[in-house]
């Protein structure tokens, strides 16, 4: 069943036309990935979905309702949460408070501590540093915190913007295993933006390639892994 349907989306920064008619689909329960080079418009696409940089034209249909005109907090209320590029944890909130911010709009209060326990179990480093300010964590620990915060949100659709950026290979593995867990156990649908195209394609049900604001390729993750132009451009083949 289609959960998110984007049709002919256009987004501008002043005069700069960043997204030039993007259409894509995310079905319930899937992991969909959006890959593309620097400046292709991946972050802009996610921010447009979230209402941060509203679309000039086009539709964003979530659960059958057009959400393209909603302010960001109402988008979250409907079940879409973004874990933004560059971690963006709150440096002056404690690790624990950062995690609690993830659960900001949740109404199932009794289950929040359960998820908190799970995050601490999954990332013991965060538990040790629960009372420390977010800004005192190392880059990798901050990325764990950002992942933990996304876990705490329990959204229906999670938008992840380059969650493995700047991490050591072992941590990259760990991040991808968390993504898989979120998808399989929490039944969270995921739209994943990644520079690490080979890992992203391996985990994805569906994939889209974005280039200068246009979708140039789309198909299953497996199909794009085989596509010669995709291999040449993004898989370093």
């Amino acid at each position: 069943m289609t959960m998110l349907q984007i049709e002919d989306l256009h987004t501008y920064y002043g005069k700069i036309h960043a997204i030039k008619g993007v259409s894509l689909q995310v079905s319930e329960g899937q992991i969909v990935t959006l890959i593309g080079g620097n400046g292709a418009g991946k972050t802009t696409t996610l921010n447009t979905i979230c209402g941060i940089t509203p679309a000039q034209q086009g539709k964003i249909i979530f659960d059958g309702v057009d959400i393209s005109k909603l302010p960001p907090h109402e988008v979250v209320m409907r079940g879409i949460v973004q874990s933004p590029e560059g971690r963006k944890i709150f440096t002056r909130l404690t690790v624990r408070e950062n995690l609690e911010m993830g659960a900001f709009t949740r109404r199932d209060t009794p289950r929040i501590p359960v998820d908190l326990e799970y995050v601490f179990e999954r990332f013991p480093r965060l538990k040790e540093r629960a009372k420390q300010l977010g800004g005192t964590l190392s880059g990798g620990e901050q990325q764990m915190l950002a992942m933990g915060r996304a876990l705490m949100a329990r959204p229906r659709l999670l938008l992840l913007d380059e969650p493995s950026m700047g991490l050591a290979p072992l941590m990259v593995q760990e991040i991808f295993s968390v993504i898989d867990y979120l998808n399989k156990n929490n039944h969270t649908t995921i739209l994943l933006v990644e520079q690490n195209a080979s890992m992203a394609l391996a985990i994805a049900d569906q994939a889209y390639v974005l280039q200068s604001g246009y979708i140039t390729h789309s198909g299953t993750g497996a199909a794009l892994q085989q596509d010669p132009t995709v291999i040449a451009a993004y898989l370093g083949g």
């Binding site: 302010p71 979250v76 933004p84 963006k88 709150f90 002056r92 909130l93 609690e100 911010m101 949100a153």
Partner: protein, 390 residues
Amino acid sequence: MASAAQNPPSKGLIGGLMERFRNDPVQIVLYLCGGIVFAVMLLAIVSNLLSGQVTLEDIVQSMIFGLAQGSIYALIALGYTLVYGVLLMINFAHGEVFMAGAYIAFFAIYAMEQSGFLAQQPLLALLITIGVGMIASISIAVLLERIAYRPLRNAPRLVPLITAIGASIVIRELFIRLFGARPRTYPEVSLFAFPQFFRLECSVVDGVETCLGIDLIRGAYDITLLGMELRVRPVYFIVFILALILMAMLWFVVQRTKVGRAMRAVAEDKKTAALMGVNVDRVIVITFVLGAALAGAAAVLFALYNQRVMPEMGFTPGIKAFTAAVLGGIGNVPGAMAGGLLLGIIESVAPSMLGLPTQLEGVISFGVLVLILIFRPTGIFGEVLAKKRA
């Protein structure tokens, strides 16, 4: 890029100073001037104390008054600091928000005096007056945010600053046109308490002595403490204690509640806070409401011992409280509290200690600001934050 600025290698005090001087030789002159002023002040204080020109009594007495005055500054300063923390903007109309609280509450307490309610139920009447003051200040602040500041949210930083100065003039003039410029006098209130401990205001009826106790608002009592003969007004302590309670409540809201957490998140990063589902506009309004509630309460407390209220009364406390907020490190909540109390005490104690006329209190408070900013440009509690944002 931020990490390098956040963790400068510690070079120790002297090393840091040397580096500062090398980067900016003008600093040497500033430090010298600051040092000389400090030395002269110390000398004056010591000589005044030794020659008996000022007595310890004078100092303690002014200090008690300074505690009350400082509490008022601290409560107002919190409003500046909260709004600055969230919007990086100085709300120069905050002094008028304070004034509106005191002025509108006047009508409430006046009506209660006329109806006799004030005399019958002084405690309840005072609480109502404080409540009216808070609501008045909150209303003005919310309108201010909605009409004057929100449309300029994405404008360059200088624009809302100028708007704030304009708004401050508009509110003041509006009150003058509506209610006149002349001062109004708060009615006299007596609030007696603790008859068990203070056998004062006693009367004997049918051979039974009943006492009212001390008058917390109007009273002034001569006491001897540690050999000092002091004349003490309980109202100063009441103001101080109420201010402490209000500040503790604010601290709790900011540090321990979900709204407070959202406020701190918005202060740091509006976009990411919005991505977590925070309604940023609403949090900003709540910030104005909290600041205004404190200012409104402060305004009524101020009027209780100062008695005169008028549309222009907001200016001086507003500027002083702003000074206090900068003194403590703008954007920093404990800093505003400490800065306010410190400024209130210095301002009331310094003239007598230095042997200067009390009219010079303004010169002294701004002098202190300049001095402290020479040695600590980010304020007493100011941290890297101020540097990072500047």
